[in-house]
Amino acid sequence: MKAAFVFPSLPSARVALFLAAFAFSAALALPACPQALRISSLRGAPGGHLSASLRAEPRTLNPVFATDSASRTVTSILNADLLHINRATDAVEPALASSWQVGRDGQSYLLHLRHGVRFSDGSPFTADDVLFSFRVYLDPKLNAPQRDLLIIDGRPIRVTRLGPDLVRFDLPRPYAAAARLFDGIAILPSHLLQPLLQAGTLANAWTLVTPPAQLVGLGPFRLRSYRPGQSLVLERNPYYWKQDAGSRPLPYLDEVDFSFASNQDAEAIRFTAGQLDLISRLTADTYSSLQKLSSSNLIRELDGGPGLEFDLLLFNLNADLAAHLPQAAHTQTWFLQQPFRQALSLAVDRAALVHLVFQDHAVPLASPVTPASGQWANPALRPTALDLPSARRLLADAGFRWRGAALYDRDGNPVRFTIIATSSNRAQSGIATLLAHNFAALGIDASVVPLEFRSFLQRITQSHDYDLAVMALSAGDTDPNGNMSLWLSSGNLHLWNQGEAQPATPWEAEIDSLMRQQMTLTDFRQRRAAYFRIQSIYAAQLPFLSLVSPNMLAAVRAPLAGAAPGPLDPGMLDNIASFYWRKGP
């Protein structure tokens, strides 16, 4: 052990003591009983069955290849990670690793694995499983979507086994809040999957038709049965490693079944008919109709406030339009002018969006950093309020003129463009309709073009054949590091101008350097100052308009305790291990 490990917040003298005490207690505890994670605030009642639903059928049960939300939800319940972000406090907490230490250089992490933990088939969990899992995620042939997150500056994270319950992770360079990287990285059973990896068949392992006995994880539940197109039943994992305050093993629930609802309406109907116990990720109109549909006060509605998702109006600022998209290139000449973007922002009635589209279950935004990001959101920025006179002044100063009610640019062309939106998403097409109405007040002829989802995405990410687009994005994490791909000019969510080899503008270059800088800083205040600066640059330049952030809405059957909507995946079901049914009246 060459690097000196310290707890980041503790003075070193106390650390030594703590470490010694830790080693001592561990040595005592090891042979006697498994070292479970006790949640001291939790006192629930065991037993019961939970019926939930998924908006789509999961496509795979393999956590390495799950990319759709349904598969991710299920795999996150079947599996566990080394460290876990507490959705309520946003802090990183021990999970399969009972504690961790960061090296002085901020580049190496030492994780102590919880001992006595068993997989859902009863076989023990060891450092070999951790090593195996990271080998799978980093395998270039498997192309796991998590792989790119674990590769920093083109070099993979190095994982070393230091003992049966001690693993060291070496990062290629200092990385702020690297502990958050471990959240959601499922630990796989090497005793089952190792042969498949060697045989090269891991990519087709753990599909929906895999026999439940072969699907083994460390999560609170394990698979019992699957009926294609209908349901997925999970049962309690008897080997789960968490306990409540009374040392009662979690999870409380005996069984969870997921049925597949094709859409939110079908889900809401089943919920009111008593066939589902909880539904989440509701739209505002479904949320408000639930009360009227259910005849009694047996349900509890939960409004978790704004999440990490936000709706935005995207300007097409891509540099490759001139050659083959003359129409888009023509409208782009307006969008490239910062005052024009500013004027459009001033013309948007965000309050009306919140009221009419989200029935007041949303908040207007100043930047893509939503209130759910807590202290990362720059408090100096306020959402732009509707201000038509200022918008007109900005346009007039930029050389735009009005003939009658219609707006014309400096060269005498009428200002008219299209706003594309996803036709199946009611909120987004509603936003587009209202925006077109708002822009009409400036004399702009904007027409809404609803498109099927993938056709829409193809225009945004591949053909670039559009003027403006209404869409929703969700921040990957509250921490700035989770939003690299949005801010970096080379990121794949840098949608307004994709695939820049070099930052196209000085301010994009500044954002790039600030973003890279904060990533290596370990001081929270310095990082936050850099992120505030990025948000101010955004607000001055407005490469896209952040409109609103919808609230996280859910509903549960009233006696169900422990469920709360959360901003990070898998939302409400994250702490399903501590769900329980309240007894009696």
């Binding site: 809401a268 549909l293 036709s423 309709t433 027409s447 609803p450």
Partner: protein, 351 residues
């Protein structure tokens, strides 16, 4: 009065309502009023708030409950006298009703909402009329085109050489098997992003006609073959009539009632396909209104549970299609359909 006659009169009156949508409408169908989302239908009273009888009806406008979304109360409702034969203010630019056009009724400083408003405070009654005009125009044109196409194909397949018949019927089979309305994703990409509403209408009409002909063609082919079995056709053939003459004077009259039936069957189907098309971004788009557009927005559970007036296109279309159907029945199409069979040569008499 017999049922068909009643249906005819009803149909004429009803069509007038949609044909003169601009006159009967009370507001611009695309005008957004953010202050009145989901307003329930407003009542009409012939009594004043004090309870006295007035010949001039009052519009009873419920008041929004402050602090709650789209909740209105009848308590303290405003009684607004209704005016008749009003001209629109110049600011009121309807999709096609020019400023200064005449309307049947209105109120000063706003618009009456007889059928309430939708999510953006747009007048449902006006949208219903304008939307009906678009939808019925598309539906009738597309059904007519598809029926004529089906008639032509059916007639050719039923009377031409066997190889052509086989070819056409396999084509029909292929057409019927493919879920066209969902596979036409590529068509939107062929059109420019900004298409004028009228191009969109023409495109969806053409698409519906191009897809809808197959099923009726198959039935009409069966009828053609049956018609060819009749004695007078054999007689005509024996006297040396050309195939064209036989088709014109003997087969076509036999086919006409069946073709009319097929037309009435297609008509309601096209309304449904309009909803599917709008999903692909192909159908009628704002600011033009159609019943398909209205129903696409209303098909959500919350809408039809909480705001039932938004599914008014359904209650409007059913009487229309019903009377069309009654009339078509009257046109003498009440005879069993003869359906295609394994090989039509079995039916044919030896030449």
């Amino acid at each position: 009065m017999t049922l068909p006659r009643a249906a005819l009169i009803f149909l004429v009156l009803y069509s007038a309502l949609f044909a003169f949508a601009g006159f009967f409408a009370t507001a611009d169908p695309a005008a957004i009023d953010a202050s009145l989302p989901y307003l329930p239908p407003e009542g009409i009273r012939f009594t004043s708030p004090a309870g006295q009888f007035h010949l001039r009806p009052y519009l009873v406008r419920p008041q929004p409950v402050p602090g709650q979304f789209a909740v209105y109360t009848r308590r303290g409702a405003a009684f607004i006298p209704l005016k008749f034969f009003v001209t629109t203010a110049s600011a009121d630019t309807t999709v096609d009703a020019s400023p200064g056009s005449l309307h049947l009724c209105g109120i000063s400083g706003g618009a009456p909402h007889f059928l309430g408003t939708d999510e953006f405070g747009r007048d449902v009654w006006s949208r219903l009329l304008y939307g009906g005009r678009t939808t019925l125009a598309i539906g009738l044109t597309a059904s007519l085109a598809a029926s004529l196409l089906a008639l032509a194909v059916g007639l050719i397949a039923g009377s031409a050489a066997p190889w052509l018949d086989t070819l056409l019927m396999r084509l029909v089979e292929t057409m019927i098997s493919v879920p066209w309305f969902y596979l036409l994703l590529a068509v939107r990409a062929l059109l420019p992003l900004r298409v004028s509403p009228w191009v969109a209408v023409a495109a969806s009409t053409a698409l519906m006609a191009a897809i809808g002909w197959a099923r009726p063609a198959r039935i009409l082919r069966g009828v053609t073959i049956a018609a060819h079995q009749r004695a007078y056709v054999t007689m005509a053939r024996a006297t040396g009539a050309s195939p064209w003459q036989i088709a014109r004077w003997h087969t076509l009259p036999d086919l006409a009632p069946q073709a009319i039936t097929q037309f009435t069957v297609l008509l309601p189907q096209f309304i449904a396909s309009e909803v599917a098309l709008s999903y692909l971004g192909l159908g009628v788009t704002e600011p033009l209104v159609s019943w398909g557009v209205m129903l696409t927005a209303a098909q959500h559970l919350s809408t039809f549970v909480e705001y039932p007036w938004l599914i008014s296109p359904i209650w409007t279309m059913i009487p229309f299609f019903f009377s069309v159907h009654v009339l078509a029945d009257r046109a003498g199409s009440l005879r069993p359909l003869t359906l295609p069979s394994l090989s039509r040569h079995w039916y044919k008499l030896p030449r």
